[in-house]
Symmetry: C2
Subunit: 451 residues, 2 copies
């Protein structure tokens, strides 16, 4: 299949087919991968989606549902299907996907779906629903291939083939003992190559990387990335094998965490759906703006304290906005670098200390460089060297404050267990606004008026 991007033509083709009969529609749908249909669903009305799901073969229909973004309510779509079709689809779904979709529904709707399906499947899904969504347990799939460490080569291969019947793809074979305790992993290559009378215990690779079920999903992603894994086994406190997290789920986690980081650092609630409507966007952003309004009044009260200076020193009102603005942007730069660094690795105390020192130096130098420019303009354009000195000192001071706060606030938040990205530009710029107004106005009052 040639890789391609979906465009208007694809949507139009589906929409036209929806006006025809089921046979035509089925034919058109065959040209699309399940994940593509999931994307096209975002622009189709509810009835169209239901009709398409009903026409698709069960395995494709279940994949479409598992590929749909949570914000487009695959749960609701599932609920509205004919109970028989619904049961078929749920039984076809991987347990982790079924859990994610069903968890979106109310408790009695969940019951309605779960009581129709195979009892064993239902109890596996119910077990997964107990784990918090953003932990290893919430991400894991309990379907995996495992063999007992006591088996020989022939038994192991039979077992692997038997267990893989129901799985689309397997990346890793886990080895357990009689008590389901994780012993290691087995490479299919080693099994195939092994001598006929080899035993699993001779082939097992011990000491695999594993995670506990309650580990935060960001940490799971970090381990998968650090050790270049395609799957990671999930165990309970007694090392019993519960399931595995696969790399495709981790890619989704990374996308989601990165979206949250970029939104939070920009003062948007992490829950805002990127393609949500204006009502949700107002709900997510207005609270931050109101906080910003309060802090802006704090900064503005600094200005009102110096009303006389503003009226008497020509140009100072304009200059102070430049110094505050430059501070805000410098702080945003320091903040972005620090937040991103924290999210990729855990910093030692020494690294954290060095980061703040570095940002102090960057602030000092960038402040002095820009301060010099402003000094020259005040000297040659305003013909006022003393005003130039005021502005030079204020610019340097504010960019130092910007560097120190931009680096230290996220580091402190991380240390006390708060998400460092919450130190959004909105919070940080309060410091640089206050200092950006206070420094030039205070210095101007002292050096230009009282002098």
């Amino acid at each position: 299949m040639q890789s391609f991007d979906l465009d208007k033509t694809d949507l139009l083709r589906i929409k036209t087919a929806l006006e025809g009969d089921d046979v035509d529609l089925e034919l058109v749908l065959q040209g699309y991968h399940a994940s593509e249909i999931a994307i096209l669903f975002e622009q189709l009305p509810q009835e169209a989606k239901e009709r398409i799901i009903n026409i698709l073969p069960t395995d494709v229909a279940s994949e479409v549902l598992s590929e749909m973004d949570e914000e487009h309510s695959p749960g609701e779509l599932l609920l509205n299907l004919h109970p028989e079709k619904r049961t078929e689809i749920v039984e076809e779904l991987d347990y982790d996907d079924a859990t994610d979709i069903i968890s979106q529904l109310d408790e009695d709707e969940q019951q309605e779906i779960l009581e129709d399906i195979d009892a064993e499947d239902a109890s596996s899904i119910r077990a997964l629903m107990n784990y918090a969504e953003d932990t290893a347990g919430g991400l894991m799939n309990s379907e995996l291939i495992k063999v007992n460490i006591l088996l020989d080569k022939k038994e192991a291969i039979d077992e692997i083939i038997r267990q893989s019947e129901e799985m689309e793809e397997f990346y890793t074979i886990y080895v357990v003992d009689d008590h389901n305790t994780l012993q290691g992993i087995l490479s299919i290559k080693d099994v195939i190559k092994a001598h006929a009378d080899a035993k699993v215990k001779d082939l097992v690779r011990i000491d695999p990387v594993y995670v506990k079920a309650d580990l935060d999903q960001e940490e799971v992603a970090r381990l998968i990335s650090q050790y270049n894994l395609t799957t990671i086994p999930v165990v309970d406190d007694h090392m019993k094998l519960l399931g595995r997290v696969t790399v495709d789920d981790i890619i989704d986690v990374m996308e989601q965490e990165n979206t949250e980081d970029i939104l939070k650092i920009s003062g948007v609630s992490e829950d805002e759906e990127l393609s949500g409507n204006w009502k949700d966007a107002v709900k997510s952003r207005l609270p931050w703006l109101v906080i910003n309004l309060a802090t802006a009044y704090l900064a503005a009260s600094v200005i009102r304290h110096f009303d006389d200076t503003v009226a008497l020193v020509k140009g100072i009102a304009a200059y102070m906005t430049i110094i505050a603005g430059m501070g805000g942007n410098s702080a945003t730069q320091a903040l972005a670098v620090t937040v991103r660094r924290i999210s990729l690795s855990n910093l030692t105390d020494r690294q954290a200390y060095n980061t703040v020192i570095k940002e102090f130096l960057v602030g000092l130098i960038n402040g002095a460089a820009n301060g010099l420019v402003v000094f020259c303009i005040a000297l040659f354009y305003d013909g006022n060297p003393m005003l130039g000195l005021v502005l030079f000192l204020a610019m340097t001071g504010n960019l130092i404050i910007a560097g120190i706060t931009g680096a230290s606030i996220p580091l402190i938040l991380k240390r006390v267990g708060i998400d460092p990205a919450v130190a959004s530009s909105i919070i940080i710029t309060t410091f640089t606004d206050c200092a950006g107004f206070l420094l030039p106005l205070y210095l101007a009052t002292k050096l230009l008026l009282h002098h």
Copy 2:
């Protein structure tokens, strides 16, 4: 192996072992995974790194080098090793990793390394060095498992085992014809399960997702994510199989692209190393700050145009900073949501249009809500309803401008082929600063002074 984070104790342990003899050091090193040693290297001096690489078994040493971040110069480390050790390590490296490391060096240093190694390896690495680093060709590894479509089951298994000798892990088996043209993929499960006289052509899954060698790495990442793949084959214009990109490389790409996005949107050069020193940080950020200084003067010139209004309307200097600041933050919110949305999927024209309309509405409502608060404060605190009206209109107007520019500028940049994240807050806030000063000052001049 229990998953754990490296801390000071680990560094101390290595440093103490470095003072002892090689046998002790070797023993301590055995307790660490190659990727962990690569992280510890970040805090060790050059001589220590060379000594450790010399002590480690070749396969571990080569993995350490491939796991080192580019900014910690694995190329230089490799170059300084004894030529014999160096050749051993390069021949052990995967071609794509060897290419990445050797590409960091000067041309004559590259020659020095490549002429010592096996001629076939050297020519594979040279071929990979021709692809741009940020394309599918630059990411791909030419080592893979492929079988001819004409083989039968027994021949295929022998071939797979033979080719997998040199590979740590294989996820996918590719099927080609006599001319190395990609025909499809083969599941190891299907091969094992197949009847003894089955042929590859009966087992092959045709129509796999593939990419051309010059495709941008971000697009490769999007395809791997969309289709939940662990590897994707790379072909030339005639569908000849060149190599494959694996998901672990894609995870690195995603981390790198996300870092670049968050830095660019915050006005930091995308090339700044997160853990770089202050000199690099100044070099990366000062140009943006100077641009910002120029645009800040533009905004400030608006204020100077209204010097009389500033002097005569008590409090207007403080209020205009509030309105400009609120605009800047609203624009940053709209920008973050839009940039992130663009980087996760390609928007249709209709979706782009709807995004701008949505941000207009969000700006209107958030502007009116905050404008109302400011109106009330002007009314009750300043006792000036006309000033309140000026501020209400200016706040609403500026937040509408913020929403429209925050959404439309990245969308326009994307359309004309420029990275939308370049529309950093520094660029966008120029609009909201100018409008944030102009609107209240112009309205105050018209409604409060000339009235």
